[in-house]
Amino acid sequence: MIDINPKNILIRYNILVESDMTPEEVAEQLFPTDPHIRRVAKSVFEGDEDEVVAGLQKTIDSGVDPLSLINNALMAGMEVVSTLYDYGLLYLPDVIISAQAMIEGIEYCKEQSKQVHESKGKIISYVVEGDIHDIGKTIVTVLLRANGYDVIDLGKDVPVEEVVAAAKREKPIMLSGTALMTTTMHAFKDVNSRLLASDINVPVVCGGGAVTQDFISDYDLGVYCEEAADVPKIADSILHGLNIRKLRDTFHKH
């Protein structure tokens, strides 16, 4: 068997660009300074659900409004996670574990308050009809919830009728659909037509497996998304007033 030093045939760019600091060291610089809030944010980062609830309880006992902790502590902790994920310092499972801890914390805060917490916006998430591959949808749903959105998760293999009915009923700011196969992704077309026929002009963000930007660009409501991590950014952009044309200008990469 031959063997060689590979230095002249490949470059590990990921190693070249990696930070000298550990994720924990970077996170320490980003957590809120208030000690109670910091404790909660840090436990979200660590994905420690029990510690999240304990930290929240302690903070609420000190007189802080439970609902304010959703944005100021839980979402603040999650923002550190999202920032480090965007920097390439954390992996997706880290985000998912933190998001679960955050969601647990949000539920606790809601239970502790008599007022209603307003999410950033409502989004419908689904896998197209005929397709049971839902790992992409799971990732997108977690990332959206982690960014403060209320996600109506319709699940997998969702009939077009049901997607359209949910859009009429829930009045979301956008829909997020995934498809693995070329043979199922045509369901995007039917959803698009049916929404337009009902005068519902919300962006339908599409991605997954065989889905291409060209394919999605053919539909009036279609916005193609290559990376799951871009979906919350698209949602944020919608809140900032970007229409479908501008979303395509911003997020269509090819």
Binding site: M1, P6, Y91, I132, I135, T183
Partner: protein, 461 residues
């Protein structure tokens, strides 16, 4: 059919692993012999999305695809080709559709074989339609439809039978997104292997009855999911080292098809096939740089190291500058095969194999553990535990961790995060239960409550 557990390697030495050569070549189709001293392109395709509207339209689509490929092969002078028809759902749900398509394809292939003598064979990969929106029912009506589909394509012209089975996917998807190695071992090593064994006993019976080849399964729904989620070097969705460990474990799952009677060639998307070939001696199909029409990976050259069929994974049928897509990719694959076959004719096959392997060996931990020497070492661990699905999955995972760690002391450069994740995976694996009984018992408790679609009765548990 009885199950034969592999307790030793069919290859005595990893140095004997080579493309175009397998210890037990497989004769199939029209004069084709796979692994008998030459490599052959395996062209894989998907119909255009609107072609599946009805049976007539779909049959016509596959006739066009088949004729295009065969025509290009003879136009450029290639001696052999394999066509792989991966069923769209409509074909498996309506077994007569698959049968009519197999009949139509085989008729065209026979025309070309009769006129030009081109060696060729047709693989049909039936869709695993056992999951629906609400649940996964691995042993109910959908299973019967799958078997009926196999029966019909086998009796209508398909030369090789395959499937990419779903067993274990529900627990796997849940586990991999949480870095849960226990769930990975349970879903891939136990649930997946049990399902593969179950389904392949029946497929092998159908193949035997129809005198066609039971060609093997892959862990596409698990190991490839991990590989794709892991992505490229600058992606941080999943540790590549963890994806490598999943791949090693997946070999014990794919092996179950051979233990139930499959003889290969294992399907192209089973990157674990290098391990399978080392264990069983049966030929394999592989995909790499010729499958960038379908996806990107980090071992485009290396995947060729031990292949017997060389595949493009799948390409949607449409026009391109150089012809239709199946013609373009079929031609590219066949030129690759010409290169490998020339090396074999010239007696420098092993040199080319090493060049292909070493060019990617240090690109990524996934490539490193599938380099033929390391693939062989993982095979040795699996065969050391022939009667214990749990131990062979767990020990394969631990071995992959050890290989990656030792590689990182040499030229296999790992980021500090990859180092941390491989250490964690290793510790997690080592801390698992001692024996299969307690492991399964604990996992049933955990995943029955955590994974909505997990139903133990699907696996006979």
């Amino acid at each position: 059919m009885s199950v034969k557990r592999y307790s030793s390697m069919e290859y005595d030495n990893f140095e004997d692993l080579l493309f175009g050569h397998s210890k037990y070549p497989v004769k199939t189709g029209l004069d084709l012999e796979i692994g008998a001293g030459y490599t052959t392109a395996e062209v894989n395709y998907a119909p255009r999305p609107d072609a599946a509207e009805n049976k007539a339209k779909l049959v016509n689509e596959y006739e066009r695809i088949t004729r295009d490929i065969m025509e290009r092969m003879v136009q450029v002078g290639f001696p052999s080709v394999v066509l792989e028809t991966e069923h769209v759902q409509q074909m498996t749900h309506n077994p007569e559709w698959g049968a009519d398509i197999a009949t139509a394809q085989k008729a065209i292939m026979e025309e070309y074989h009769d006129e030009y003598g081109i060696k060729c064979a047709l693989r049909h990969t039936v869709g695993d339609v056992r999951g629906d929106r609400e649940s996964i029912d691995l042993r109910g009506d959908a299973y019967s439809r799958i078997l009926e589909s196999f029966e019909q394509v086998a009796s209508s012209g398909a030369d090789m039978l395959s499937i990419e089975s779903l067993g274990g996917k529900e627990v796997f998807d849940h586990s991999i997104l949480r870095n849960d190695m226990r769930g990975v071992i349970f879903s891939v090593g136990i649930l997946g292997a049990l399902d593969v064994e179950y389904i392949w006993k029946d497929i092998c019976s159908i193949a035997k009855k129809n005198k066609v080849v039971p060609a093997g399964d892959t862990a596409c729904a698990q190991a490839n999911t991990a590989m794709f989620v892991a992505g490229g070097l600058l992606d941080f969705k999943l540790s590549h080292s963890v994806a490598s460990v999943v791949r090693a474990i997946s070999a014990s799952r794919s092996l179950a098809a051979y233990e139930a009677g499959a003889i290969g060639p294992g399907k192209d998307c089973g990157y674990e096939n290098n391990i399978i070939k080392a264990i069983t001696g049966y030929p394999i199909s592989q995909e790499g740089k010729g499958s960038t029409c379908a996806h990107s990976d980090l071992m485009g050259n290396m995947a060729m190291q031990c292949c017997d069929l060389w595949s493009n994974e799948s390409v949607e049928y449409r026009g391109d500058f150089g012809g239709t897509t199946v013609q373009c990719w079929g031609e590219t694959l066949s030129y690759d095969c010409s290169m490998m076959n020339t090396a074999l004719e010239a007696g420098v096959g092993k040199t080319l194999r090493d060049v292909l392997m070493v060019s990617d060996r240090y690109r990524d931990p996934q490539a490193f553990i599938l380099s033929y020497d390391n693939a062989y070492r993982i095979g040795e661990i699996i065969t050391a535990h022939p009667d214990d699905l749990y131990l062979r999955g767990k020990e394969a995972g631990i071995k992959a961790c050890e290989l990656i760690e030792s590689g990182s002391e040499g030229f296999l450069a790992l980021s500090k995060f990859e180092k941390a994740t491989i250490k964690k995976a290793q510790n997690d694996l080592k801390s698992l239960d001692e024996d299969m009984e307690s492991f399964i018992c604990n996992c049933l408790d955990t995943y029955s409550s955590e994974v909505e679609t997990f139903n133990a009765s699907n696996y006979g548990l």
